[in-house]
Symmetry: C2
Subunit: 229 residues, 2 copies
């Protein structure tokens, strides 16, 4: 029952002295870099360079290792997700708003979707959001709440990843307009998705996200109605 290495949350930040670095500063810088350069651009050296007079090794006192830094980054941006103090009356609205807020946050920090599933989700902000979601679902009678909650989270991050990947693919093949997409689909006619791809721009990524979210919530509602009529 002993973790081979403690998570960063259980390792207190070392006391700072004048001019010393801080976790907050390191994390903020790392987030800026990841926002701009993506997940591949996020290296310890890049973070150290951006901090000015620092070598990579300076960071390790504060964040233990790169996983620790990533943990802190993930939780830091999780704070941008609006978590109401208390559930409103309508559980569908509550869940929907929470998912939307998470989606918006990921839109600002695309790397989040790629990294969140690589680390255990035990940061304070992440836990606060999870607790709220679980409360709402549980009082709605959707049990086990963890099951429904993980369905929702997976949906949001999964969708974000797919959109990110799609975007990267468009860039890769120099697709900037619908016309480009049509031409490209023609090029791959033999073994491609044929004419279906052409429907893709019909729905914006935000629209697609909302559609799927509503589908999922429909299913939730059906299960709830079936439980306590």
């Amino acid at each position: 029952m002993v973790a081979t290495e403690p998570l960063i949350w259980h390792v207190p930040e070392p006391p700072g002295r004048r001019n010393a670095l801080t976790r907050a500063e390191i994390v903020r810088t790392a987030i800026t870099i990841a926002d701009a350069a993506g997940v591949t651009g996020l290296t310890m050296r890049a973070v150290a360079d951006a901090l000015g007079s620092s070598t990579p090794m300076s960071l390790y006192r504060y964040v233990r290792n790169k996983d620790g830094l990533v943990d802190l980054m993930l939780d830091e941006v999780s704070a941008e997700v609006d978590v109401p103090a208390a559930p409103g009356g309508d559980w569908v609205a509550d869940v929907r708003a929470l998912a939307m807020s998470l989606w918006d946050m990921i839109g600002r920090h695309r790397w989040y979707a790629e990294l969140v599933d690589t680390r255990p989700p035990f940061g304070p902000n992440t836990l606060a959001r999870a607790r709220f979601l679980l409360t709402v679902l549980d009082t709605a009678g959707l049990r086990p709440a963890v099951g429904y909650a993980s369905l929702l989270d997976n949906y949001v991050t999964g969708n974000a990843m797919s959109v990110t990947r799609e975007l990267a693919m468009f860039q890769r093949f120099d697709i900037h307009s619908v016309d480009d997409l049509v031409a490209y689909a023609g090029e791959m006619a033999n073994d491609s998705l044929d004419s279906w791809v052409l429907d893709m721009p019909q729905l914006s990524s935000d629209g697609r996200f909302a559609l799927g979210l509503d589908c999922l919530l429909d299913g939730f509602a059906a299960r709830q109605a079936r439980m306590e009529p």
Copy 2:
């Protein structure tokens, strides 16, 4: 409109000579390694070692680079997914069976979920599955079909990733039984998910997957009914 580097599918396998390697052999070996050692154990050196008298560089003639190898691996295991020759009458049953088959395949190749979203999905087997799914959804009146299809795929792979991560976490914290889990939840009482985690084993991962799938399909059915009554 020109790809910076062609995908492996557009690069024909070089002709072999006696005792020469083949793509199929390399891919098969790589899959075996990834099955056993996970995505971190999958290195070019490991594959070359497993092939016996080979250095990493031998592989590059056949697979171009590691991305090419991963593309081939992903498509190879995609062949294990049952794709019917033609749609049956019931679109819900068709979609459900396809998703289940994909889920089962990922259960045998856990690395799939972690890698599938890192590469463009243009392998022949992948495309065959996509085409079938799109046909079923489109004839069911769920349009744009690509939207619904991506919702489904994301759901399956997203759920697989979450289960994989969960499993890894249990291993990491030496959790082997429900009792262990309870004890662990107690340890993290202060900032943890409190009592909710305890509900987790109530539903097997397969059960949770089926639940979410049915929720999603409920939503699909509701949209379809609304469209063509």
